[in-house]
Structure formats: structure tokens, C-alpha cells
């Protein structure tokens, strides 16, 4: 809201400098955006313009009058609007029938007629509008805009002779109707939109913009002046649907003053005559079927103190509210100080006690309130297990060399498709662009883009992770961690041990995350449209409480990586784990039950097997476990070999078996027998033989 200081001075004594006014109003809720000096358009002294941000709850301050009221209170000056002309009822009503057909959308409509000589405005008026940021058009339109800025009430003028009838009907638009608005746009109207129509067609979109057909032009001789009150929701809906926001709609949708129409109409008439733009026809129309009832709100001094944490003296409360136009009547019955407060018509935002307390707080000053601490009356809650879990996961990822990323939750549809069926994708109805069209079904696409961003900047070794939500139709919203690994497994070192990362580096991290969360991890070959065939696995997590499919690990399909700019020779490994599915299994050390340390020695046996090359180690492992006695406490692969000495199509795989009994020392014979039984089972089920 641009406020020329000279205009303020027409409502209250202005002794302070513009900077002081800006500062004082900022402290009571109107943030100063800028102070600007505008030269007078003629040879005048020019003016200073204060530009304030007006919050959505204060449409009354979208006016010089409203701002002047705040300034007067802030500087303890009287607020005295200049005496204005009053419209007097004429014995002969004016010749413009007005019918409100939609009283819920238009509770009040006033109008007057004037014969006009359209031409340029006097320089002072044009300068005022210019300072307020409004372009001068002609004297009639300028007067309506002047009153809009000064009183905050939108006014519209029609060329009376362009109105069929002439008459005005305030009604909802009919299906199929359209109007060319003042900006030259042909707009299709829909039912529910409120229009001002003449006998046969819409002449204005109520509260938004007038129609071109009845525009005031140089040839206009008589005008009908509209000063009405339209329901906020109606104007807002229409303005949104037409994608048309104007000075008028901005005010009506925030709530205009239903008592203002006649005052504003009188001010227009006064100004038209004052600048010699026309002669007002005696009389006016005021259709106001349901007069606004008085809005009275109770206020207790004790409640003010209870909310603010400080007593505000009753005279201070009364001073503030009265200056803002509220009328206070002390409640004689009340045991403590209390009032009934009549709310002025322009303060539609004030409906309950708390609204009054805010007014008191604003002008009493927030800086005057004491600084205290709320008492702790409840024992602090324990941390949400999921937050703890996420923190553990982040710590493990970082300590294994992965740097944390944050990527956007919405991604391009094509980036999402390899990770979920098209029917599973959750689309955004009003995305900013196609780049942000769907909610990510997986964290991997965003991570891949971040890896590529770094790779394009000559960063060859990239390890990144992200934790966050992902979305599919079936699963809804779930929390996950994803990791990506490109480049070196170990980092450049003089020992020459450096090598590119491979699948097992990535699956090792998955296993490590499992250990950190206290769950076992089992991998199972998988195929996925996002992964290179034969280089991907499903991740199963297991725990005493059960097991669940929790994710996917593997090498990203080469063409997907290449599409982001990863060179074809470089392999990008990724993993994603559903942390919510994991949460059901995880038990972050809450229920540890210590097992006694073993008191008897263990016996180790190594078995080198020759098995068909395509046989998964997990299958061998399962057979071994199924055929082993309870004394087998550990089983680990320690060598894998293909080549000389191993038949074509076969592989040699070596396992180390550790046997131990909790209550006795095992004999060589029984371990030997156990190993033989295992080998026999492997031979029978998989054709495995000892090497």
C-alpha cells in the first residue's frame, strides 16, 4: 500500500518524519517496504511515499484513511477525517432501477447519476494518483480511483447511455454468457459468477472489472456511479476462475466495509463537482435489504493479562481500542474489569476477544512484554524410534564414506518410470513444470542426478546417500534410504590397491547397515527395469520378530546412467532400503539379553567345493545349514576360484565352518562326521564334490 504523506495529513496531524512514521507502523504490524520521494508533476514541492506491506487480515488499511487511523494512534494524535458532503435523499428517486437478484452475494448496492464532461484530471489529482501508483486516465475514472485509494472502497462508473433500459440487475451469470472486460479480453462467464447486468447482458464482473461496452470514454455524457458491497468469497471465486485480480477484487475478497458504500459515493460526487467534471443528479439508490447488525465482543482485562503475561492498565486498553474506532461499554455486573466492545463496520476481521487482545498487543508494544519461560509441567517424551533409526542410518552411511544429499521430492515422469509402474506413480495436479511432475517412487533417480552433477564436474569418485519419503499408490508414503557409489572402491593410494567399486562393495554397505540396525540381511537375485540384468538383488531383512523384503541393490542399468551423463565405462551402484519396513524389525539395542561367553573351544573345518557355476552361494549355504548339527555356529565363504583345475562351467567355492558346543569340547570325530554329512548332502542335492 503506497501512502503519500501529504494525503495522510488530510486525516491526522503529521509531525513525525516519514522515517519515524515507517518505523512506528512497522512496530505495530505494517512492515515498511520502502520510502520514496516522488517529484510533483507540475511545479509543486513533491511528496514522500511510504510503501507498506498490508497483511491479509487488514483490508481496511488498504486505504489512506485506514493507515491514517493507525498513524494517529501510534503518535497519539487525534484522527479527524475532514467533514464530507452527505448525500441527501431527493423527493424524486433517480431514474435507474436497481434490482439485487442475488442478495447473498451482493448484500448492498448504491448508485447515483451524474452528467459529466470527460477530460483530463487537474494536475493535483493526477499527481496524487501517480504517487499512489495509479495511472491517470480521465477525470471521471480518476475520481473513482482516488476514492478507492483514499477510503479503500472500490467504485465503478458506467456510461449510462450504453446500459439497456437503463437499469441494473445484480445477478449470477447465465451459462454461455460472456463479457469483454475493460482490458479488452473476452471472458466466458460461468454460473456462480456475479455480474452487474443491464436489461439483457452483463456490463461488469461484480467487484472485479467493468465491461468495455459501458466504459466511460470522452464521448460519455451521463454516468451511473456504483458503490456496492460484494461478498468476499464470491469475488474471490470469480477472480480466481477468471485469473483476473484487480485493485477492486483484492479489497472485496479480503472484506470491504458494508457501511462504506454511501460515504464513498458521496465522496465521488463531491470530487466530481469540485474538479468541475460534472453535475450530480439529486438523489441516489441504496438497496440494502438486511442492515448489518451491531457486532459486540466481550473483553476481559484479566484475559489480556493471561495471554500477554502482563497487566495492561484499563485506561491504556480503552485508549487503544477507542482510537481504532471501537466503542467500549464497561460491564457493570462483572467482578473484574470487563467491557462490551462494539466493532466498527470496517473491522470485519474482529469477531472475538482474541482479536481485540491482538489490537491491544500491537499498540501497547510487543517490546514492552516481559521475557519469561513456560513451566515444565510434563516429563519429556522419549525420542521417536523412527527418528533414532534415521539418525543411526545417516551416521553409518556417513562413516562408510557416503555424503548426504537432499534432492527434490518431485521428479520427471520419465525418471520415475523405471522405478515403478506408471499406474503406481502419484502425479501432481498443478506442477510448476514437467521436471516436477510426479512424486518420486524411489530416492534413486534424484540421487543418480546428483551423482551425475558431480561427475560432470570432473569428480570421478562419488558416494552419496539420501534419506526421505517416497510415494506410490499402493504403499502410500514410506521413508527410505538410498545410496549411490560411482568410481573408486578404495581411493587413490600409492600401494596400487585402488580398484573400481563393484557390486560387493555396495552389498557390503547394505549388510553393514543391517548390522547397525540389528537385523540380518539376505540377498536374492532380482531383475528390475532400473538395474543391469544379472547384477541386482532384492534385500531381505530378518530378525527374531520376522523377516521382510526391504529393498533393492545392484548396478544401475548402463543406459540410465549414461542418460544422466555418466561415462559408459563407469559402473554406478545403487541401493535403496525401506526404513519403515525395517522399523518393524529394528530394535536399536532396547532389548539386549546377554548370552554367556563360550567356555569351550571351537573347531574349524574348511571345505573347498566344486559346484556348477550358476548355482547361487545362498543355495549351497541353505543346504549346509539344513544338514548341519546345532554345533555349527558360523559359516563363511572365503575363496572362490575358476580356472585351471576346475572343470569348465564349474567354480570352486571354499567355506569355513566353525563348530562349537556350549556345554562340552567337541571331538574331532564328531566334527568330521558332521562335515561329511554336509558334503554328502551337497553332493546329492547340487552335484557338488570336494576339490
Amino acid at each position: 500500500m503506497r501512502v503519500p504523506v501529504s494525503w495522510l495529513a488530510e486525516f491526522t496531524e503529521v509531525a513525525a518524519t516519514p522515517a519515524e512514521i515507517g518505523d512506528a507502523l512497522t512496530r505495530c504490524g505494517f512492515e515498511l517496504a520502502s520510502i520514496e520521494t516522488v517529484p510533483d508533476q507540475g511545479d509543486g514541492p513533491g511528496d514522500t511515499v511510504l510503501d507498506f506491506e498490508i497483511t491479509a487480515n487488514r483490508p481496511d488499511c488498504l486505504s489512506i484513511r485506514g493507515m491514517a487511523r493507525e498513524v494517529a494512534l501510534a503518535f497519539r494524535q487525534p484522527f479527524e477525517p475532514r467533514a464530507r458532503r452527505r448525500l441527501t435523499p431527493s423527493p424524486n428517486p433517480i431514474s435507474l432501477p436497481v434490482t439485487i437478484e442475488a442478495p447473498a452475494l451482493c448484500p448492498r448496492y448504491t448508485a447515483a447519476l451524474a452528467d459529466v464532461r470527460v477530460g483530463p484530471s487537474p494536475p493535483w489529482l493526477a499527481a496524487r494518483l501517480h504517487a499512489a501508483g495509479i495511472r491517470a486516465i480521465n477525470n471521471v475514472v480518476d475520481v473513482t480511483n482516488y476514492v478507492l485509494v483514499e477510503l479503500g472502497h472500490p467504485i465503478h462508473a458506467f456510461d449510462l447511455h450504453q446500459l439497456e433500459g437503463p437499469e441494473l440487475r445484480i445477478r449470477q451469470a447465465l451459462a454461455g454468457e460472456s463479457i469483454t472486460t475493460l482490458d479488452g479480453q473476452l471472458r466466458t462467464l460461468t454460473e456462480g459468477m456475479l455480474v452487474i447486468a443491464d436489461r439483457s447482458r452483463p456490463q461488469a464482473v461484480a467487484g472485479v472489472m467493468g465491461g468495455l461496452a459501458s466504459e466511460v470514454t470522452l464521448s460519455t455524457r451521463t454516468i451511473a456511479i456504483e458503490s456496492a458491497y460484494f461478498a468476499p468469497a464470491a469475488v474471490r471465486r470469480t477472480s480466481k476462475r477468471l485469473e483476473l485480480s484487480t485493485e477492486a477484487s483484492y479489497r472485496f475478497e479480503r472484506g470491504a466495509d458494508i457501511e462504506a458504500p454511501l460515504v464513498a459515493l458521496a465522496r465521488v460526487c463531491e470530487l466530481l463537482e469540485e474538479i468541475g467534471a460534472g453535475q450530480v443528479t439529486p438523489g441516489f439508490v441504496d438497496v440494502y435489504p438486511t442492515v448489518r447488525g451491531e457486532n459486540r465482543v466481550p473483553l476481559r482485562a484479566s484475559r489480556v493479562a493471561q495471554l500477554l503475561g502482563q497487566d495492561v492498565p484499563a485506561p491504556e486498553i480503552e485508549r487503544i481500542l477507542r482510537a481504532l474506532g471501537f466503542a467500549l461499554v464497561t460491564e457493570p455486573e462483572a467482578s473484574t474489569v470487563a467491557w462490551r466492545v462494539a466493532v466498527p463496520s470496517w473491522r470485519g476481521d474482529v469477531t472475538r476477544e482474541i482479536d481485540l487482545i491482538e489490537e491491544i498487543a500491537r499498540h501497547h508494544g510487543l517490546d514492552r512484554l516481559p521475557v519469561t519461560f513456560p513451566p515444565l509441567t510434563v516429563s519429556p517424551a522419549r525420542l521417536d524410534v523412527r527418528l533414532e533409526r534415521d539418525a543411526v542410518v545417516r551416521r553409518v552411511a556417513a562413516s562408510t564414506g557416503f555424503t548426504e544429499c537432499v534432492t527434490f521430492t518431485f521428479i520427471e515422469r520419465s525418471a520415475a518410470e523405471p522405478f515403478a509402474d506408471a499406474s503406481e506413480l502419484v502425479a501432481i495436479a498443478n506442477p510448476l513444470s514437467e521436471t516436477f511432475a510426479v512424486l518420486r517412487p524411489s530416492l534413486i533417480p534424484g540421487l543418480v542426478e546428483s551423482v551425475a552433477h558431480n561427475r560432470r564436474r570432473e569428480r570421478k569418485d562419488v558416494r552419496l546417500f539420501e534419506t526421505g519419503s517416497r510415494f506410490t499408490r499402493t504403499s502410500g508414503e514410506s521413508r527410505a534410504i538410498a545410496l549411490a557409489w560411482l568410481g573408486s572402491a578404495t581411493g587413490l593410494h600409492w600401494s596400487g590397491t585402488d580398484r573400481p567399486a563393484d557390486f560387493y562393495d555396495m552389498s557390503g554397505i547394505v549388510e553393514q547397515l543391517g548390522r547397525a540396525l540389528g537385523v540380518g540381511v539376505r540377498l536374492e537375485p532380482a531383475s528390475s527395469p532400473a538395474m543391469r540384468d544379472g547384477h541386482a538383488a532384492l534385500i531381505h531383512a530378518s530378525h527374531a520378530r520376522g523377516s521382510a523384503l526391504v529393498g533393492l541393490v545392484g548396478q544401475l542399468r548402463e543406459d540410465l546412467a549414461a542418460a544422466h551423463g555418466v561415462p559408459p565405462a563407469e559402473h554406478l551402484f545403487v541401493a535403496e532400503i525401506d526404513l519403515d519396513a525395517m522399523a518393524a524389525l529394528v530394535d536399536l539395542g532396547e532389548h539386549v539379553e546377554v548370552v554367556p561367553l563360550p567356555r569351550h573351544p571351537s573347531v574349524v573345518r574348511d571345505l573347498s567345493l566344486v559346484v556348477p557355476a550358476g548355482l547361487p552361494a545362498a543355495t549351497l549355504r541353505a543346504t549346509m545349514l539344513a544338514n548341519a548339527p546345532e554345533t555349527l555356529v558360523n559359516l563363511v565363504e572365503f575363496a572362490r576360484y575358476q580356472g585351471k583345475g576346475v572343470p569348465e562351467g564349474h567354480v570352486s567355492l571354499s567355506f569355513r565352518l566353525t563348530f562349537r558346543s556350549p556345554d562340552r569340547t567337541l571331538t574331532d570325530t564328531e566334527v568330521h562326521r558332521a562335515a561329511e554329512a554336509i558334503v554328502a548332502a551337497l553332493a546329492a542335492e547340487h552335484g557338488a564334490r570336494l576339490r
Binding site: L307, V378, L383, C405, R459
Partner: protein, 371 residues
């Protein structure tokens, strides 16, 4: 260095225990400094050399001593000589051992790299803020990023057509999404379908109040979404922490105290804090909190647009309509709520002038933050 007492009278040498002790100490110090065979030989010559050797010199003095002293001096000289010879031999062996470690390594070469990742700056700031409030007994909430209109707007005193909805241009889902929600650390429960991406984490506060009676003391961190085009200060996704305190007799003065202490913990113990009236539909009275500019200290600079102040928080007393929506007694209970943008804090704390850096994930940027 004189080995014998300087005041020894010619013809009558004072070879006493004190002098011998001094001699042993001097030798030990010299021996400790020996690193090479050459040093060792020089030391041997100095003490045992035929001519001028300190110990040798003792023997030449025996003859000049009174007859009753000769035996004693001779004994002392022998003991000393044996001790020096043993010490020299031991040292020689040590030097030899060192030289013969043919498999000695170059310990100055770099160790094998063990990669360490870095936390994202938004996580660093979020965890810092969480720990401040956790210390003050606040519960930390985790909640869904997709919401329904009721929890995101209506229950927060923003009915449909409310102009304040314009302040938060919303991203809507093309079709409603059914989710299972976690309720306060327990198992997930089915919830009504979501229709939008939450514009603030206040929705979690509503969900919390729906299932918990006062007193309430919570913070709700998380990602939030608005339909903003990307520029140096805007992204359509950002991170927020909102807080809520409800109880008997919670006042705006408590709000001032809590947020002043919070900002001083977060920025500087002597940070200047200013409260200024503002408007939010879900709080009343509402305020904006500013801190003295961290860049210029208040003198005025580009960061603070020459005002000396930076907006950092929005806050206010919980609107009674919000309490009514969740079934709290608005007459009995009062409370305050606040919200802070984590990107904003991180930008001010670390001198980041482009919000997009947080989402580009350039490792040259990320690696500047703690592991």
C-alpha cells in the same frame, strides 16, 4: 667441562663420591644424545682415550695421591671404567639393531584412505535445533509430507476461500493418496486420503493435539512444499521446524523468552532479538521475530537490506479456533506456536547466498560441512 672439582689443590686431588656422581651424570647425558657409531667413538675417546680421556686421567693421578688414598682411588677408577665400558657397549648394540632392520618402512607415506561422508548442512542445522529443544524437554515429531485439506488448512483456521491460503500457494495431488500414518512411535494406522503436499509442518501439530491432551511441548521438523518458482531465495521444497507449547497459563511473554533463548543458542549468546506484530491465521496475536544482522552486526548491509535486522521466525499465541478444532478447552488452555525455515538459518549461519546450493548436492559444497 671440568671433571674434577675446580678447587682441587695441586698435589692433593679430591676424588670423592660427589665428583664421581657428577662425572657419571655428565656421561649418561652425553650417551643419550649419541645416534651413530661416529658419535659413539668420539664419546669413547673423550672418556677412555689413552691421552686426555677423563677416566684414564684418574689412573695417572693414583701415583700422585697419598699412599693411604691410593687403594681407594684405584677402586673408584676401576668401577667407573667398567660402568662406562658397559654403557658404551650397550649403546653400540642398540645402534646396530636399528641399522640392521632391513624391512624398515617409510612411515611418512600416506595411510590407506578411509572415506568419511559429510552431513548435509540442512541436517546439521536441523539436528542442532532439535537438540536445543530436546534439552528443553520438547518431543520431536515425525509426520507425513502428504496431507489432507483439513489438517493443512481448515483445522488451522483457514477455511476454503480464506484469503490467507494465497500466502501458501499449494501443490495438489492429481488423485487422492491413501497412506498409513505412524502415530507417536506406535504402529502405522490407516488415515484419510491426502490431497496435497503439506505447506507447513503445522498439520502434524493438529494430528498430535487430536490424540494428546495438554500439556503439549513438541517440535515438528520436515520438508514442506509451496508452488514457488526456483530462484536464489525460493525453491518449491524447503525444510521447516515448527514448535508448539500448550498448557495452563502459557503467555506471550513465555513465547518471547523461549524464542529469545533459542535464537541466542543458535546464533550467538549476545544476539539481539526483536518481536514485531504480524499475521498468521492460526495464531493471534502473531509476531515476526528478527535478529540483529549476523553479517553487519546491525550497521546495515546487503544481507539485511540495510535495516540491520533479519527476519528469522514466525510465531504467535495459538488461535482459539485451532484449540476448538482439536477439542481443547480454549478458555483454560493457552499456548504458543512458532516456525523457522532451516534453509534460512543455514544461509545466515554459513553465509550461503543462493538457496539452490542446498539441492544441487555439489560435493565441493557439501564437503565443507562436518562429517
Amino acid at each position: 667441562m671440568p671433571v674434577l672439582p675446580a678447587r682441587a689443590t695441586p698435589g692433593r686431588l679430591m676424588i670423592d663420591d660427589h665428583a664421581i656422581g657428577q662425572l657419571r651424570a655428565d656421561f649418561a647425558a652425553a650417551l643419550a644424545a649419541v645416534r651413530t657409531d661416529r658419535d659413539l667413538q668420539a664419546l669413547r675417546d673423550r672418556y677412555l682415550g689413552r691421552r686426555g680421556g677423563t677416566v684414564t686421567a684418574l689412573y695417572s693421578q693414583i701415583a700422585a695421591a697419598p699412599p693411604d688414598e691410593r687403594r681407594r682411588i684405584g677402586q673408584l677408577a676401576n668401577e667407573l671404567k667398567t660402568w662406562v665400558e658397559d654403557a658404551l657397549a650397550e649403546r653400540q648394540k642398540a645402534i646396530a639393531d636399528l641399522r640392521t632392520a632391513a624391512d624398515a618402512i617409510d612411515v611418512t607415506l600416506p595411510g590407506r584412505p578411509r572415506a568419511i561422508g559429510h552431513r548435509h548442512p540442512l541436517t546439521v542445522v536441523r539436528e542442532r535445533i532439535e537438540s536445543i529443544f530436546a534439552h528443553w524437554g520438547y518431543e520431536i515429531l515425525d509426520g507425513p509430507e502428504t496431507e489432507d485439506d483439513y489438517h493443512n488448512f481448515e483445522a488451522l483456521n483457514m477455511p476454503p476461500e480464506h484469503p490467507a491460503r494465497d500466502m501458501q500457494d499449494t501443490l495438489y495431488l492429481a488423485e487422492p493418496l491413501t497412506r498409513r500414518l505412524w502415530s507417536a512411535g506406535a504402529s502405522p494406522e490407516a488415515s484419510g486420503p491426502a490431497t496435497l503436499l503439506r505447506t507447513h509442518t503445522s498439520a502434524m501439530q493438529i494430528r498430535y493435539m487430536e490424540s494428546h491432551r495438554p500439556p503439549v511441548r513438541i517440535i515438528a521438523p520436515g520438508r514442506v512444499y509451496r508452488r514457488d518458482s526456483i530462484d536464489v531465495t525460493h525453491t518449491p521444497m524447503f525444510t521447516q521446524i515448527e514448535g508448539l507449547v500448550v498448557g495452563d497459563g502459557v503467555t506471550m511473554a513465555d513465547l518471547k523468552g523461549t524464542l529469545t533463548a533459542f535464537l541466542r543458542e543458535l546464533f550467538a549468546a549476545d544476539a539481539r532479538v526483536l518481536f514485531r506484530p504480524s499475521f498468521f491465521p492460526y495464531t493471534e496475536p502473531s509476531a515476526e521475530v528478527l535478529i540483529g544482522c549476523v553479517t553487519c552486526g546491525g550497521a546495515g548491509c546487503q544481507v539485511c537490506k540495510r535495516t540491520g535486522w533479519l527476519e528469522i521466525l514466525g510465531c504467535g499465541m495459538v488461535h482459539p479456533a485451532v484449540f476448538e478444532a482439536v477439542g481443547y478447552d480454549a478458555e483454560r488452555h493457552t499456548g504458543f506456536a512458532f516456525g523457522v525455515g532451516i534453509e534460512r538459518v543455514a544461509m545466515l549461519k554459513y553465509g550461503v547466498d543462493d538457496i539452490r546450493l542446498f539441492y544441487e548436492n555439489d560435493m565441493r559444497f557439501l564437503e565443507q560441512f562436518p562429517a
